[in-house]
Symmetry: C2
Subunit: 204 residues, 2 copies
């Protein structure tokens, strides 16, 4: 039994959707960010980095979304969530997820988690002001250069899709008009129709 | 023949060391950051993100260091640069590299690339001031929680080691005293003795 530590509105949703896609037997444990539970001594024993997701599997604890997604794809090969036997195609999948993680998620994090990169309120506020521009530029790169369609990597649904969908949920709060990015908006709509997404969101 | 686009002092070094470790036949092309060549129309055709590394292989172009490192490990399996047939151990490798990319490299980038996350000089300067603290915290996590030893992931040298070594080269410029992190300092020293590292650095 897999245990996924998660919190509403976080990127942990991507791994949960992938677990649903994989048909995995798992449970979730919600970490309460409102009370700072991610910084409690108990949770830091699970993930010293004080973040979600963390995933407990038979052999230990794993963290970092791109690593979890690749692990889920490799551990449930019959779900065909990644081109496991084609290193070039697998690298393209990883490259896409890496961009989401290191560019889009990071730009987004400057709105709410500025204290990670600054010590004074004026700098934190300065970062916050730039978020609509910086996050918007990431979405331009994704829409124009990285997204293939109909799924993120082309004809086949992969572990890129739940991750893309998860981060697209943050657009409105980041001050981005979803209408600017029609391919991503259409992807979100089609993702919302999938059983795995609806299950991970608690809608069914 | 693989072509690796690189620039001195960048994280592209990690992929070059891994190519040396793999015994790959490759050439490098230096992108001149001083003249902004990474933003030239010619280079943006290779990597629309305007960064290094980019790697041209037979089937196309790949970017993003963690993706390149996994690709190199998978494409040269006899070099044994990652536990390719053990999804859990492979996920641990990817988790480590993910931390370097999304936390350490990003914290570091706030010293020289603050314009990515801010629009005004005061905010950019505020980010720069925090770098010794934020990069130092990343190194504390690596030294205390993530680094196993003698190599990053334990007994076996993996694709984590060239990446760790590459980012450790930035310590001094980021205002970090290497003596604070003896395990990392020892790792740097042992990496410098490797033929692959010396070849990638142009020392032999």
């Amino acid at each position: 039994m897999i245990t996924l530590y998660t919190a509403p509105g976080t990127c942990a949703l991507a791994s949960q959707i992938a677990l649903e896609d994989a048909g995995a037997v798992y449970k979730t444990i919600a970490v309460d960010f409102k009370t700072g539970q991610q910084r409690s001594p108990e949770y830091l024993k699970i993930n010293p980095k004080g973040r979600v997701p963390a995933m407990i599997v038979e052999r230990g604890i794993l963290t970092e979304t791109p690593a979890l997604l690749a692990y889920i794809a490799q551990t449930y090969p019959t779900a065909a969530l990644a081109p496991l036997h084609d290193p070039f195609a697998f690298a393209r999948v990883q490259e896409f997820n890496q961009y989401l993680c290191t560019n889009l998620h990071i730009a987004h994090a400057h709105r709410m988690r500025g204290h990670r990169w600054a010590d004074d309120e004026a700098t934190i506020e300065g970062m916050r002001r730039a978020v609509p521009r910086t996050v918007g530029e990431c979405w331009e790169t994704i829409e124009n250069d990285l997204f293939v369609g109909p799924w993120a990597m082309g004809a086949d649904y992969t572990i890129c899709d739940p991750y893309l969908f998860t981060l697209a949920q943050w657009m409105e709060a980041d001050g981005i008009d979803p209408a600017r990015f029609p391919a991503i908006a259409d992807h979100r709509k089609r993702m919302m129709e999938r059983r795995s997404v609806r299950a991970a969101l608690g809608l069914i």
